[in-house]
Subunit: 335 residues, 2 copies
Amino acid sequence: MMSDTHIVLAHGNGGRYMRELIDAVFACHLGNPYLDTRADAVSVPMPAKQIVITTDSFTVRPLEFPGGDIGSLAVHGTVNDLAVCGARPLYLTLNVLLEEGLELAQLDRIIASLGHAARQAGTAVVAGDTKVVPRGEGGGIYLGSTGVGIRPDDVRLGMRYIRPGDALLVSGPVGDHGVAVMLAREQFGLTGEVCSDSASVLPLTERLLNLPGLRFMRDPTRGGLATVAHESCQGARLALTLNQAAIPVRETVASVCEMLGYDPLYLACEGRVVAAVAADEASAALAAWRALPEGRQAAVIGEFVDGLPQVVLRTPLGGERLLEELEDDPLPRIC
Amino acid sequence: MMSDTHIVLAHGNGGRYMRELIDAVFACHLGNPYLDTRADAVSVPMPAKQIVITTDSFTVRPLEFPGGDIGSLAVHGTVNDLAVCGARPLYLTLNVLLEEGLELAQLDRIIASLGHAARQAGTAVVAGDTKVVPRGEGGGIYLGSTGVGIRPDDVRLGMRYIRPGDALLVSGPVGDHGVAVMLAREQFGLTGEVCSDSASVLPLTERLLNLPGLRFMRDPTRGGLATVAHESCQGARLALTLNQAAIPVRETVASVCEMLGYDPLYLACEGRVVAAVAADEASAALAAWRALPEGRQAAVIGEFVDGLPQVVLRTPLGGERLLEELEDDPLPRIC
């Protein structure tokens, strides 16, 4: 028997129930002039020749958490991957995997949130696909989103442009998303006031694009700041010294991490940017970020130096230790 | 403890194990000048201004079946959605959801098959994302693929261009993919010789693009030929008469369907095209398809006529019945 309130397998079969679900939920919240839910593919205008493409998948649990949900996250994750490359997102496509038994009201909330996030980032979902998997073979909702954007021809960003002496900046406190999701799972017997930082970083990245000394940007998601630090010094073939005292971490995040034995440097952010900037432009970059509400706590946190590609953490007491590359997973299904 | 032979959660954490998996499997099989597994997004050249975008998700079970696997299917499904719009696929992106415990050897076979299918279709995977979900929360592998293609400015295809008198053609036997997957599940105690028709339909679609009377093409995947028939007569606001005796169905497919109570018209194909063509060009279209190995069994199977948008099936004995829109799902996880 069909259900009016929960997902059933027939919502994924290509027939009438599927068509009605697409209309009631997806076309309703994501409608825009290009989206055609009856078409195999859509044609879109493209104003420039240098296009940039990225894709990301989302499996976060719980599906809704303080500060966001899997829907807004699927927009932010993909928009941010384009933003840190210096691109402006134009179009998104969406893959939706629903598990039989999902409550339709929750699906509706999440897709509404996704549509809102897409509009806020100035982009539109132009194509999508929905599949339903049998109960027990999914995680409620899994999403995939692909982004297509354009980039000015003169933008040259990459780890290979980093030079000795360049500064490393972060746009705000790290670990908020990881801790917010962890607390929302309620499996640790802790509750907290930490909200995910899930947000579009376009305002942050666009402010730095006019700096000739901007070398490289990345959003520290899975694997956190530590992973971006490792990737950038490997890509630059330089050592990186991080000043631990300068890295912004909220007090609640620090204390939850201490209680549970996590290091906030390895926890995912979903609305922060890490940028490498020439030394003589570091203070201009910092000022540009701090002038924005989302960059108020931005900080210069490190410096690239000649040496083996490794990350040296300078502790508040003046000691030094190597920051290891992430190996075992502290928190699955964080994004 | 880490496993060398099966997927563990740490393969999805953004750290070292994930980097090694991406290099060993994905970069190995999908390598091309644009793919940069270290980048957030990649820049690609785009030779025309009219670009076409599509996306699709894949949850087929079993992951490997006679005639294909989830990897080649993820290429064919997305390439075919572009092809039936008259576009040539240029770039693919790939979302990969792996379940903890998946055998690495199987992942390697499937991604190798995906890379082969992409090269055969003249396209390249330029971006990807991999997530690992805990054991019991996935189906082994789920894939999502997004395709970006270009289309000549003068191609005008759509259900709204269909006129009374237009012919409906199908490029080959229907139901092969559905029956091949069903038999591969071994849950019916039947074995058969049916192979999936999973293939790129680009050779078929490109042969028709020079016909001025070509109105509309679609690949009959989920919901099968019956669903495309319904969609096209609803989009055209015309009735469609299908000649049952003319619809090609393999003997093995027909007998398996009869035994299990399925109708092959509702079963998924993954390498067929349905096309609406002006009456006076139907025989030219048929001849063009029959000249290709993949179109040898093409047939004219119906005609659009004035009337309410419904599908009338003319039976071999001269009777007529309405073909219903698909409601309950005969076969979940078929694509």
